[in-house]
């Protein structure tokens, strides 16, 4: 019998135990990673279709008709199909990419090794967490194939649209039900993951690894787990209530006298705003669930490749904690447009602005880390720098949106689309790219191709700015979001060339990602062999072979004597001191 706690399980022998239902945190991390890779390409494909339709709304594409006979009759996409693509794009990207890869993928693989543990605290729970996430993805994708197709109500699933059923649109029948069930399953999986991350970090650190010696990656994974723990529990509760409104005739979110498609519904007394409060209590911390791990990776890489200690380690830790804490008190800024007491709006606005303080501390410290450093412009470092750039760009537009008076104007425009794609979407994905290039040698024992990596970085960096920067201009010009077609509005006529440019930039950027896919799979077999510590880094994962053995440290137990960022230490024999080096 294997020991249930802390990786005392022996090395698996069969294929299924080793690669499918594995208890090994490293295999589970890789499983999460590739689930996210599949999801990101699916989500990206949906966005490309959306961008195509926005610019060529009358184009007849026979493939559309084959894929969606009722959603694209004659090959022309209906507005309902466009909205379902938008809903599924947002949902898949937020839950199965941004929540999954940075935390569950990289965190699963590297948290135990970085803290000197043999595995996660609860390996069986860890395995179950992955397969539950997988089930959630299967149910979500299945929503495309049920009668009526995928739901239309956006990744936020606002009622009444999401709660009244088939009556409100083709995807609002079984598709929306599948969506809610999938998200409920995902919540369960995330809660299991959070339990593991928190218990592992608190209780399984190696001797000498005090909290203030933890790499910032571990701090960010810990705080992200706490956010997930508190946020997903609330979303699960909200999902249960929404499902009951749909299936059991309750009236939590549905008011009286609701008229939908000429039918008066038999609900009364509920409030759609109640859903919004519950959803955004989860939804805003979700933004930090997506971005905090990227911050951890960026901190790790900026220090390593600048050959300098991270500037203001403690301030960075407190900033992570501050962002996580404040993240629970700002959900109302998503609801300025929903009608709110001005005093409440003021409070939410002030709290929102206050998140700028820890965010600015982090940015300042990243720049301070780079200042005077001997910077190595590896692909991983370039993506980390790209992360900082995107975080700042996306963050600045957030300051506009945090003010009720401005948000009233911007809220339903492309300004918001540009903002959250920059800071939550692309920045987090740059963090994933950075982590991939940085840790690939540890996972596989080989480097990814640097030349291809740099080509991919520069083209992607230009591409994403080309897509999302114009959105801010569109928003300021009053271009509404969520519309399937702009060609029928005179006041938007002059903006259509910008949409055309963005669509072509999206095609280009999507195509460029094939370079990454090729590099990823090619390098697994053909990449240049990497030594144990190719980046001259200091943390514990670089003290073990690549790939690490089953129990990470081959039965030995590391003792930590140093902080995680001891670079260019005066008097030291080399320009870095590993955490496990003698005191």
């Amino acid at each position: 019998m294997s020991s249930p706690v802390v990786a005392a399980h022996g090395a698996p022998k069969g294929f299924i135990r080793r690669y499918i239902f594995s208890l090994d945190h490293k295999v589970i991390g890789i499983q999460y990673y590739f689930l996210a890779v599949f999801s990101v390409f699916l989500g990206m494909a949906l966005s490309v279709l959306m961008r195509f339709h926005l610019v060529y709304p009358d184009a007849k594409v026979s493939l559309f008709e084959k894929l969606w006979p009722t959603g694209a009759p004659g090959g022309i996409m209906t507005p309902e199909l466009y909205l379902s693509l938008m809903t599924m794009h947002g949902t898949i990207m937020v839950f199965f990419v941004l929540t999954t890869a940075p935390q569950s993928g990289f965190g699963n693989y590297f948290l135990p090794i970085q803290i000197g543990a043999e595995d996660m605290a609860f390996p069986v729970l860890n395995m179950l967490s992955f397969w539950t996430t997988f089930l959630a993805l299967v149910v979500m994708v299945a929503a495309f194939f049920v009668p009526g197709g995928a739901p239309l109500s956006g990744w936020t699933a606002y009622p009444p649209l999401s709660a009244v059923g088939q009556l409100s649109g083709p995807g609002e029948g079984l598709g929306q039900t599948f969506w809610i069930i999938s998200i409920a399953i995902f919540c369960g999986a995330s809660l299991m993951g959070a339990i593991n991350f928190i218990a592992t970090t608190i209780d399984l650190r190696a001797r000498g690894l005090s909290l203030m010696r933890m790499p910032l990656t571990c701090w960010s994974w810990l705080v992200t787990a706490i956010l997930g723990l508190l946020g997903f529990a609330v979303l699960l509760a909200a999902g249960v209530l929404l499902l009951l409104d749909r299936l059991a005739g309750t009236s939590f979110f549905l008011p009286a006298g609701l008229l939908v498609n000429d039918q008066i519904l038999n609900h009364k007394g509920g409030s759609p705003l109640l859903w919004q409060h519950l959803f955004w209590f989860f939804g805003h911390p979700e933004v930090y669930i997506a971005i905090l791990p990227g911050m951890g990776v960026a901190s790790q890489l900026l220090s390593t490749f600048s050959r300098k200690p991270i500037f203001g380690y403690r301030a960075m830790v407190y900033a992570i904690l501050g962002i996580g804490f404040l993240g629970f008190f700002v959900w109302g800024h998503h609801m300025f447009m929903s009608g709110m007491n001005p005093y409440s709006a003021f409070a939410f606005s002030v709290l929102t602005m206050s998140i700028g303080v820890p965010s600015a501390i982090k940015t300042f410290n990243w720049i301070g880390t780079l200042w005077g450093g001997r910077i190595r412009f590896t692909t991983a470092m370039l993506f980390a720098l790209g992360f900082v750039s995107l975080f700042v760009t996306g963050g600045i537009s957030g300051i506009f949106l945090g003010q009720p008076a401005l948000d009233l104007y911007f809220h339903d425009t492309y300004f918001v689309v540009g903002h959250f794609h920059m800071i939550m979407g692309v920045a987090a994905i740059f963090g994933m790219f950075a982590g991939t290039f940085y840790w690939f040698p540890k996972v596989t024992g080989r480097f990814m191709n640097e030349t291809l990596g740099k080509i991919h970085f520069y083209l992607t960096f230009l591409g994403v700015y080309a897509i999302f920067t114009p959105m801010h201009y569109l928003g300021i010009s009053g271009n509404p979001r969520r519309y399937a077609d702009f060609t029928n509005f005179d006041f938007l006529g002059k903006l259509l060339p910008i949409h055309t440019f963005m669509t072509h930039a999206a095609f280009f950027t999507a195509a460029v990602q094939l370079i990454f896919v090729f590099n990823l799979f090619w390098s697994i077999k053909k990449g240049k062999p990497a030594p144990m510590n190719p980046w001259d880094a200091t943390t514990l994962e670089w003290t073990v072979p690549s790939p690490p053995p089953h129990d990470n440290f081959a039965g030995k137990h590391p003792v930590v004597n140093h902080g995680p960022y001891e670079y260019s230490v005066p008097g030291a024999a080399r320009d870095f001191i590993m955490q496990s080096d003698p005191a």
């Binding site: 339990i195 218990a199 650190r205 190696a206 001797r207 010696r213 609330v234 059991a248 007394g269």
Partner: protein
């Protein structure tokens, strides 16, 4: 493998302590100690998630209650008081069992723990009867918001309780198979704490139903 989720989070056969074991950085090293701490931490984290879920339902309860005039208090079936007594007594039994085990009184432990498990099942049966009585009186899930929340909250609690009974049953089986060695103490403690938590949540829910209907 043969390892269940219950045993996964509740500890189990820990590897022998090592001379340079995992101590949680600031803590003391030692294999079993770290495993016990991790199990307790895991439980606390799980409880935090449960508290958040009940808090979310509760906040929706109060907001929805103040929204409109369609709220009609749900009459509490008398059997709920019996159920409350059974669950509180069950919690007491668990504590007596835990203390008996720590004193090395295995027979007393088995007696108390089994009694607590049976009481847990009785509580679930009693809840089912309460739902039946409400249905008979015309109160269903969608009758009015008060009854909606009553059924949602009691069912959520029952689902939690099913998890708790699984943990209690696991310990019962281990005791029956004479496998309740020192390595299982953590499982006993974690299951007991979770059971106390369920009793506390139930008392909170009763107060909620009683005072705010």
């Amino acid at each position: 493998m043969g390892t269940s989720i219950t045993s996964d989070i509740a500890g189990g056969v820990a590897p022998p302590p090592t001379t340079q074991g995992f101590g949680g950085g600031d803590g003391e090293p030692g294999g079993r100690g770290a495993h016990r701490r991790a199990s307790i931490t895991g439980l606390m984290v799980l409880l935090a998630a449960s508290v958040m879920m009940f808090a979310a339902f509760s906040s929706a309860f109060f907001v929805r209650r103040g929204l409109s005039n369609d709220w009609v208090d749900t009459p509490l079936p008398g059997i709920l008081w019996v159920n409350t007594g059974v669950l509180v007594a069950s919690s007491l039994m668990i504590e007596l069992a835990r203390r008996a085990l720590h004193s090395g009184k295995r027979a007393a432990f088995n007696r108390y723990w089994s009694a607590a498990t049976i009481m847990g099942l009785l509580f679930l049966g009693g809840q089912y009867l309460a739902w039946q009585q409400l249905n008979a009186a015309g109160y269903y899930l969608a009758t009015n918001p008060s009854s909606s929340f009553f059924f949602v909250l009691t069912c959520t609690h029952a689902v939690h309780l099913l998890g708790g009974i699984s943990a209690l049953g696991y310990i019962d089986v281990q005791a029956l198979l004479l496998r309740l060695g020192p390595g299982k103490r953590t499982a006993v403690d974690v299951s007991a704490y979770f059971w106390h938590f369920l009793a506390a949540i139930w008392i909170y829910l009763m107060a909620l139903f009683l005072f705010w209907g």
